[in-house]
Symmetry: C2
Subunit: 186 residues, 2 copies
Amino acid sequence: MPYAGTCVVAAVLVATEPDTFVSRRVEAVEVDLGGIPGDRHHGLTRPAGSREPMYPRGTPIRNRRQLSAVSVEECAAIADGLGLDAVLPEWLGANLLIKGLPELTRLPAGARLLFPSGAGLVCEGENRPCRHPGEVLAALYPLYPEREALPVRFVQVARGRRGIVLSVERPGRIAQGDRVRIWLPR
Amino acid sequence: MPYAGTCVVAAVLVATEPDTFVSRRVEAVEVDLGGIPGDRHHGLTRPAGSREPMYPRGTPIRNRRQLSAVSVEECAAIADGLGLDAVLPEWLGANLLIKGLPELTRLPAGARLLFPSGAGLVCEGENRPCRHPGEVLAALYPLYPEREALPVRFVQVARGRRGIVLSVERPGRIAQGDRVRIWLPR
């Protein structure tokens, strides 16, 4: 059986403010084939950026980064590695906080997350860390020693723990508290 | 560098006949975000089928099986395994015949095929063999011994050599003779 087990949606978050990627908690979202309507990453296409050096910057490409997910366990490990009390999914701009899948970041591309509503997401791969969340942390922890080094340290510590990006395969509702079935490819 | 090398488009094929999945050669196609316009697998969505037992049959899901590709080398290995002179990409309903990437089927999900026009395809995973191409072979090789066993033997022999399915990330032209760059994830 290709089921790898189940985990739980500990939080659902959306990034709807024009000026920041930081997300905020909501009870539930209704995803369509572009992602979460109203979220800054919603869309069937998006402009190619620095993560897609194989395409000219700004070219419309299919949006495979519709949602991002992080795990409770990996957020705790990042906080530990940085010597911080907590790293919240909001500060990473995540849309889903998952509990019970400690190595979420290692989920292979093509794995599915299946929700009780019937909604299905496809893992599009690891979300490689950039400096921006470290800049948020630096603003939030003004007394952190060597605070100006936080963006670079975040990238180092978050590598392999930054979660995954996902696209919608089947629309539907995703709510806090949902049990999620994980379906591995092959 | 995430480039794994280059290979060549040995043939471009389309399946445009309503009654058969068998494809025919064309000089070039212009792919859009649904695949090859006019091809039977074109579409942003498609109904869930037997390959997606996690969804109710017939539910619209995002189409991750827009194009299929096979390699010259793997087609030869399938023919060898079946004791046939040749297994042509047409009979497998393939859209692309690739030369110079002998283990095409092992390409990981998330790998990109990049074409001179700027078009980009994403590997969505292995195309697991079904019985239909074996039925085509049985019709084409009437003198094959134990001909009625060909569909089952095809599935056995083609496993791991049946090529991959792909979706379009960036629209553009794909032509016979194109050099293809392979970009691996991570």
